[in-house]
Amino acid sequence: MSLSIHDQYDKIYKYCYFKVKDKQTAEDLTQETFLRYFSQKSYINKGKPLAYLYTIAKNLCIDFYRKSGRDERLNEEVPANDEVTAFETSYAVKQAVSTLPVELQEMLLLRYANELSINEIAQIMNISRFSVYRRLNKALDLLKGVLRKEDFNEI
């Protein structure tokens, strides 16, 4: 696996931010993820897969919640200057995505934002590839449904 730290840093950070919704914490967890990843003896040579990086990140986020005793989706932070909001459609999609179950959101992030393969997602989530397909399709269908409804509302 060739791993460009520059690219992966952003992606893992995005993932952690999604999980913890806090800039500072997300970056701490991102850095910790890389440190753990590289401290493994078998890191890159045996092709320690990208999925492994996410697994570490995921576990660190879970640990973080366990320690802080917070509920996972408690503090919904609205990003102050969000370029995404500049686009009407993106905003709608964002809204729609936030109505989905967290687990499906995570799925969408991994697949479409961070461009992982179905296989990698299956490893990270510890489910079968078939389940990944099924849930992704479900998420997309739900999303489409929500968006269509909104379209009606807007008209």
């Binding site: 520059h6 950070y13 970056e27 590289f38 969000d82 995404v84 992030l109």
Partner: protein, 243 residues
């Protein structure tokens, strides 16, 4: 809709820019490539001329066989060309010294010795493959038999290996490759002359001469290779650089 949606999803999860990315990346201890990665990368650094010459020689032999059939004169032509393969090979192995990269390479994690050994290994395999390929082509077409043909073809090659390595191991000059080139030309011409002058050189009754020459040059070449490797190992030879 689906495509557009997927495109939208790409940016939906965008987070605010990380603040400490550069600093962290600069200080991070990166994982290292292992020996296998290094080996593979070195294959990529073998110059194209090696592959091209090997391929040309092989194709040339095929074409030659197709048009002229396998005669004794064809054997000497091939055996006179083979020393040039060894020249290209050896100049490839000695490249670090020729281009004054030796000191830099010595100070690297995988140092000059390892680079040289890997080059010798890769090129040795390539040469052997070409040689066996040609041998198989020729031996089917002549009545000389596999071993005799092999000896006829490889003896000039080995003589040149020995000669070139002899020069490289003893010369301190950076122009060694030119001297090796001259040695190669000499070996090749000598081989041609002998083959033309002495009609019966390839005949059965000369087999003792060939056997002795083959073994002698093989042993001498091997000795020079060992010497070459030792020199890389010792580091000591580098004292020649210091006035």
């Amino acid at each position: 809709m689906k495509y557009k949606l997927k495109k939208e999803l790409k940016t939906v999860f965008d987070a605010p820019a990380p603040a400490r990315k550069e600093e962290f990346i600069n200080l991070l201890e990166y994982p290292k490539a292992n020996r296998l990665d290094f080996f593979i990368s070195q294959i990529g650094y073998i110059r194209k001329r090696v592959w091209i010459l090997s391929l040309l020689l092989f194709i040339g032999t095929l074409i030659g066989l197709y048009f002229s059939g396998a005669s004794y004169s064809f054997v000497w032509v091939v055996s006179s060309v083979l020393p040039f393969v060894s020249l290209v090979t050896i100049s490839e192995i000695a490249r670090s010294i020729t281009y004054n990269m030796d000191e830099l390479e010595m100070s690297c994690k995988y140092n000059l010795l390892e680079v040289s050994l890997i080059r010798i290994g890769i090129l040795g395999v390539v040469n052997l493959a070409v040689f066996i390929g040609i041998l198989l082509l020729l031996s089917g077409k002549t009545d000389l038999g596999f071993i005799r043909l092999g000896i006829y073809l490889s003896t000039p090659y080995l003589l040149n290996c020995y000669g070139s390595l002899f020069v490289i191991n003893r010369s301190k000059s950076r122009d060694t490759v030119y001297i090796c080139g001259s040695v190669t030309a000499l070996v090749s011409i000598l081989n041609s002359l002998i083959s033309i002058r002495i009609y019966d050189i390839y005949l059965e009754r000369n087999r003792m001469f060939w056997a002795i020459a083959f073994i002698m040059f093989a042993v001498l070449s091997l000795k020079e290779i060992v010497k070459f490797i030792k020199r890389m190992e010792d580091l000591k030879w580098n004292s020649s650089l210091t006035a």
